[in-house]
Amino acid sequence: MQIQTLQFVKKVAPPWTAGTVNTPVGSVFRLSSDWSRPDYWGMIKSRSGAFRMNYAVSPGLYAVGDPTKDSDVFVTANYKLTFDMLRRELKGMQAWILVLDTKSINVWCAAGKGTFGADELVNRIVTTKLDAVVSHRRLILPQLGAVGVNAAEVQKRTGFRISFGPVQAKDIPAYVQAGYKKTIEMRTITFPMLDRLVLTPMEINPAMKKFPWLAAGILLFFGLEPQGVLFKQAWFGGLPYLILSLASVLGGAFVTPALLPFIPFRSFAIKGWLIGLLAVFAVHQLLHLPAPGDTIAMIVSYLFFPVMSSYIALQFTGSTTFTGMSGVKKELKIGIPIYIGAASISLVLLIVLKVKEWGLL
């Protein structure tokens, strides 16, 4: 008994705990259900993607309130943000939380990768001696964990019967009140505007990381003269294309995700292409770029930049909650040849433009 206690409470108590609770197999940390300043700060940090790896919760069993051997057991991932959401929603309840080792990754991803899976769950049930802590044999898992956990297998191996709770932790109190029943809202994922907007920086960042290369390429191309690279030339010739590139990054990575349901067609590639087309049109109307009368430049801008926006928009399928693999594969199969074709034709046209400019034609 003494050894068990040591094993559970060997480390310094994390700041989000409030004392310990005794169980037949040793004491476990009691969680404080209030969020402290570091918790909020942590949410911002992990949302922004930085410091994700060193922001974990130790896997194991925790207590909320004063749980007894009849209290519910909620299973979660050791991604701090997920864990914090659950801890906050369970405020005022008496429950156990079983934290799996998902390598600090959220439930959805970890289930897809298999770290939030039957093996880890069974292993965690055994190491925490859960069967001695509670007298019932019920577990409540987040619904999205079902992607990785085969409930029947866990029951066969441990005797614990799994109920998949709501998709979102905020629905847990209502779910418990309703006698562990989910409404259709509780069991389906929605993808509201705010969520989409939160994700757009993750689309814009990688696109913008490549932007300096594109910009350098454009400037070099236009600056290239028989007598060497001319900066004035580079600037005047390249500027319209720089602006158009920025417009299509913005169109594909920000406008398309934000307005997703309002843009016609289901295909992300077409949505992105439409927005890219509008972006080019807007640049053309408002800034008169490229100069009216420059036919080749005009063709290139309408050919290339909507396609660039389309490609970027297609990347957003990685952040959505409703795109499946077969659909994205289909889009890529049709899209990639078109992307490559449009880019090649544009390049050829620009070279023709250049050659003409040099008076070689």
Partner: protein, 97 residues
């Protein structure tokens, strides 16, 4: 929001269904509903091929080719020849927030 029509690999054999309701419980897209003590597909096109239903149907009534619907991951797998998988540690690709 719905994605492309008629692309999902979801298949369901109603004759194997034992009516346990697990698929309704786990599907995050509301693809299944119980009708007359059996599962019924309400709208196939809502399916995002997450695989939760097939993994949890004890009676083998459901099958789906599960995978990530993420362009970056799929392009990657086309180049490397492996299975598409999200890189959650997340530097470039933004799969899984």
């Amino acid at each position: 929001m719905k994605y492309l029509a008629n692309v999902t690999t979801l298949s369901y054999a109603a004759d194997k269904c034992a009516g346990c309701g697990r698929c309704v419980e786990v599907c995050p897209q509301g693809v299944f509903e119980m009708q007359d003590k059996r599962a019924a597909i309400i709208d196939r096109d809502l399916c995002m091929e997450c695989g939760a239903c097939a993994r949890n149907c004890e009676f083998g009534a459901i099958s789906v080719n599960a995978g990530v619907g993420c362009a970056a991951a799929i392009i990657n797998s086309m180049i490397t020849g492996g299975e598409p998988s999200c890189d959650c540690s997340g530097s470039g690709s933004s799969c899984c927030g």
